[in-house]
Structure formats: C-alpha cells, structure tokens
Amino acid sequence: MTSLRLADVTFSYDDCEGPIVENFSYELDEGTISLISGPSGCGKSTVFKLMAGLLPQYGGKILSGKVLLENAEIESVVPFERAKRVAMLFQNPNRQFAMKTVFSQFVFALENLQLDHQEIEERINDALKRFELEDFKDRNLQELSGGEQQRIALALVYSLKSSVILLDEPFANVDPENRSKLLEDLKRLQKEQRKTILISDHDSSGYFGIVDHWYRFSSQGFVEKDVNELKTREQQPKVIGMPKNDARLFWDDLGFEVSKRKLLSNSSFCLPTGQIGLLSGKNGCGKSTLFACLCKLHEKTGKITFDQKDSDKIKLSKWAKNVGCAFQNSLDQFIKLTVEEEILASRKNTRHKDYWSEERIQKAIKALNLTGIMKHSVYRISGGQQKKLQLLVMLIMAQPILLIDEPFAGLDQESLEVSCSLLKETVENLQLSVLLISHQRVRVVSFMDYEISLENGILKEVSA
C-alpha cells in the first residue's frame, strides 16, 4: 500500500497569471477507484502531474504546501523509485512511448527499475498475458489504435508493479469498446491487486458501478459527490433545429481510417450556409479527423466538393481560402508573435474587409476582454485567452466554411457567452457555414442550429 496526498498545495505555472491550484488538499483512499471530473482547464491534469511528481520538475512551482508520497516529499524521490509506487497514463497515448515496439517499450521501463534479464522477461510475459495482449508483443506502437496503445500503457504500468495508478483523461482517444475493456481491466486490478486508481475525465458517464468515489471541480471548488448521482446524471441539453439545404460544401461517400481503424464510411452531407452545426460523438470517434479530411490534411476515400468543384482538383492554398479550421490546440493556430500582430494578420487577409472595420474589431477585442494583452506574446497568455484570440482571428478571416474544434475548452461562463454570441452574430451576418466540436454543451447548444453525431463509423443527424 502506498499513501499519496496533497497537503494544502498552491501551484502556479511560470507563465500563468494566478495559481492554477490553490490551497488544495486531497488524499488518495488506498485500494479504491476514484473519478475526478470537471471542465477542461479546471486544473485536473495539474493535480495529476503534481501527484505523479512530474510538476514542478517539468514547469511551474509549488508556492505553498507539499505533495507527500509515503510521507516523503515526492520531489525528493528518484523517478525509478517513484515509478515502483506511482505510475501515470497520459491523455495522448502515442506521446508516451519512446521506443518502437511494444516489447522494447516494456524493456525500456523495466531496465529503468534496474531489473535483471529474467525478471524483465517474466514481468513482460505476465503483463501481456494478464491483459490478453500477447499478440501485440512485437507490434509497432505507432501503428496501434489509441485504445490499444492505452491498454499497452496500462499493462506497462502493471508490469512496473506501481500500487497507485493515475489516469489523466485516458479515454480521450479511445473508442467505446476499448474504453469499456480498459474500465474492466482497472476494476480487476483494484479487486485482485488492491491497486489505488484515480481517473480524470471531463465526461462522467459510464462510471456508475466502477468508481468508489467521485469528485468534481466546479465553481464551488473541489467537492466529493455521491457516486449514486453518476447513475442519474443530468440530461445533457439537446440542440433544437435541423440543417438547411442551402450549402456550398458537400461530401459524398466519405470515409477515412486512423491507425488502420475505419472511423467513417459512406458518409454524405451538405454543410448548410448561415448555420452553426454541432458535431458530437464520443472521444476517439474521429471528429477531429473528419475536420482534418475536410481540410485535406488526412487521407480519405470519397468526394468533397466546394461550389461543385472537387477538392482533389483544388490546390491546398486555394482550398484554405475557403475552408478555415480552428485547431483543438490553440498554439497550432497562431502564426505571429503577439496578440496584436495576430489580429492585424487576419485583418489584412480577411474575406470581408468591409464587415471587419476597425471599430467592429475593437468592439470584439473589448468584449472578449483581450484589450490589456494586445502587446503580449501569444505563447505567454493563458489557455482561455488563447482560445478567445483563436476564435476571433478565425472569425475575422471569415472563410465561407469554418470548422472549429473545441473552441470553448477552459473558458469561464462570461467568456463562453461572449464567444458564442460573437460566433452567432458573425455567422448570421456573413452567412458562414460553421461546424463545431464541443464537449461543453451546457450554455452552448442554444447557439447551435443543428447537431450531427458520429457514432460507430456512421454520421447522422440528431433531432431533438
């Protein structure tokens, strides 16, 4: 058994304005499975990385309080000793493997623990057998699906024999089938090995009967909730409305795969003008990849047309003038150094110079509360500010088709409402076609005109 607790911890990233975690205390209940839920950007990952001892080693500083692993400050414990007690699974599965094959990744981790040849071999075989992954032993890690990679990562953690397992948004890139397999594996580990497991997930569905504790980050702070509430979770608000027929972008018989897994097939749809559509679906179902296909950034089958012209016959530079994309990670979007330069760059090349007058832009900057940071570097402003800036620069560009991936992640209530209003106003005035991915539904769906859902490889309209 391993005790792990945060005692009154206040933590701040170097580039953040205020502490992201303030006077936070929490102790893991040994031998249980706990779920921490809450909106993106609320500090879940920070808490997990503090508990894994990765922060402040990889950024930021603890302003007060301590993180204690078996009553010793976790920072003072050498990583290979720490890994025997606490291990972590990350949100992005393919960024947690340094080696090429499953076997060599296991060897790497077990060599870190200074185990001998025989012990390494035994542990690998045992872990792969337990998780029924023997066939994966010599497979190339980069060729596995997100779900398979996470199962490998879990087996790896098991082989380290860590008694505490932290899973930070582990299902973000995992399909439903592998998600339930992983949850079963975790339950088994808790029951048979008395492992202590902590999972963070912004979506708390599907955890009833699995977790023993449920904590939530909300405006009231960090509170423990009744696990029975997981059963009767509040109904997610629905979008009311249907897509119109007037459209410039069509796709027909569209299909694509990721890591040799078919995520969409035979899909046909026309993206209505002057409307905002919500693209929903579980994590890992292929929503972002659909956007990548529509931007010609991912291999596809089938046909996409804009104004009756086949996308395959249009150069990428010309295509990008009509099909804009706001990426999930804001930093992937910015092309200039400061907030001011970003806005100027969009203004210079906007498709609607008359509409985006200096006065209108200034009004939007003020409404989004970006006035005070105009000279700041885009890399040094907070995540929420980056999201708002990203939305603004893409709305100023005003391509007739705009695909927006998670624009509201980490936004406070006020920013969320201002962002939604600005989006709605621009779409209606300029008659843009917007398709948007957002896990956040509360306070968002009322701005949406229709919803389409991607489920088990099929894209369908959702009617309320």
């Binding site: 990385k49 894994a52 001892g53 990765l54 990889y58 950024g59 050498v78 990583p79 290979f80 720490r82 890994a83 025997k84 606490v86 291990a87 990350f90 992005n92 960024r95 947690q96 493997f97 340094a98 080696m99 090429k100 060897v107 790497f108 981790a109 077990l110 060599e111 870190n112 623990l113 200074q114 185990l115 001998d116 040849h117 390494i120 071999e121 980069q142 380290l160 931007c295 950034l297 990428l316 530079s317 990008a320 003038k321 804009g324 994309c325 990426f327 930093l331 992937d332 979007q333 092309i335 200039k336 150094l337 760059a345 969009s346 210079k348 090349n349 620069v393 893409m394 560009m397 391509q399």
Partner: protein, 219 residues
C-alpha cells in the same frame, strides 16, 4: 563487428582521411568498406543506389578541382572525388548493417554516451509520423490566414521549435513516469559484447592506415 568499434574506426580513419592526400588509400578504404558491407549481407542494390547518389557529388568535386585547383590539378581532382566515396562508404559501414537502436545502445554502453541523448535520439526517430502531422498543420495554419511559410522565415522556425518543445516535453514526462532517471544506473536486458580483439583490430587498422600514408606516401 560491434557498432561502437565501427564508430571509433569510422572516426579514426575519417579524420586523417581529410588530411591524407592519396587516391590509392582512398580507393583502398572504399574497397575494404564495400567488402565489409557485402560480408554483412547488405543488399548489393542498396550499395549501388548509394554509390549512384554519390556519383554526381564526386563528379562535381572532380570538375571543380580539375579546372580550378592552384596546382597538380589531375591528382587533386582525383583525391577529392575518391575522398567523397570513401567518406560515404565509411559512414555506411556503421549505418547500413546496424539499426539506429543498435548503434545508440552500443554507443551508450561501450563509449559512455549519455543515456538521455540516446533515448532522446531514439524517441525522435520513433516520432517521425507525429512530426509529419504537425508539419501539415503548421502549413495549413498559415494558409488559412492567407499567408504562406517560406523556408527563410524565422516565424516558421519558431513554430517548429514550439511544437518540438511540446512533443519532447510530453515524452520526457512519460519517460520520467516510467522510471527513467537521469544520471542513475539502468540494467540491460540484452548486452552486446565488445571483445578485446575488435578494439585491437580497430587500432591496427587505424595505425596501419596512417603509417602507410606517412611512410609510403602513395599517389
């Protein structure tokens, strides 16, 4: 031969090769390397492709020295042309018969290369797919803003640096959580032996090469 020994041999011959002006010795080095590569069962087709790629470079070097060298133009031209082929073959003796993983592990084990360097290099080789996706995204992000990144633009390099830092940061954290500890010993699942005779052979080859060049001064 163990990649660490080949690495030392490559440096031991490669550095003096820059100063030794001998066509014959360049040809000998190239021939020995080719023989070694064939002995290691490297496909002749691969070797042929490699030599064909190097040919224009060697030819260019030959032409420039043949017409513009200050003295002894023919000799110097041949030295430069054969030197390029010799360098290429020397490098190939390390890279063609061994995998990147094998080379790096042996350099760490027998020549005390930093393990952080070794695993950093390995993971960057394994992340080529991710880097490709990021590169496409960087390009598109400029295109949707009506701009285009040119190779000489500092902004492009800043973006690449930011993306690389994010990727390497994520990976470093994952490696740490899997117990990788800088400056601490690790065990080795499989050890590649480096017998003394290989060090002896490497020393003899380097000394003979340099001695031959100094004493006989072949053409």
């Amino acid at each position: 031969m163990n990649p660490a020994a080949v690495f030392v041999l490559m440096l031991g011959i490669g550095i003096p090769l820059t100063f030794i002006k001998s066509v014959i010795l360049n040809v000998v080095v190239s021939s020995v390397c080719l023989a070694y590569l064939l002995f290691c069962k490297v496909k002749p087709k691969t070797l042929l492709t490699m030599l064909l790629v190097a040919l224009p470079l060697a030819f260019g070097s030959y032409v420039s020295q043949r017409f513009y060298a200050s003295h002894d133009q023919v000799h110097i031209a041949w030295i430069y042309a054969t030197r390029i082929i010799a360098y290429l073959n020397l490098g190939a003796t390390l890279t063609l018969p061994n995998s990147v993983e094998n080379i790096l592990f042996n350099l760490a084990e027998h020549l005390n290369f930093s393990k952080t360097f070794v695993y950093g290099m390995l993971s960057s080789f394994n992340m080529i797919h991710t880097i490709r996706v990021q590169w496409k995204r960087i390009r598109y992000s400029a295109l949707v803003r009506g701009e285009r990144y040119r190779l000489f633009q500092p902004a492009l390099y800043l973006r690449i640096i930011v993306v690389s830092l994010n990727l390497s940061g994520d990976l470093a954290q994952a490696m740490t959580s899997q117990g990788f500890s800088e400056g601490f010993p690790r065990s080795r699942y499989e050890k590649d032996e480096l017998p003394v005779w290989q060090w002896l052979l490497v020393s003899i080859l380097i000394v003979s090469y340099v001695a031959c060049a100094i004493i006989f001064k072949p053409w």
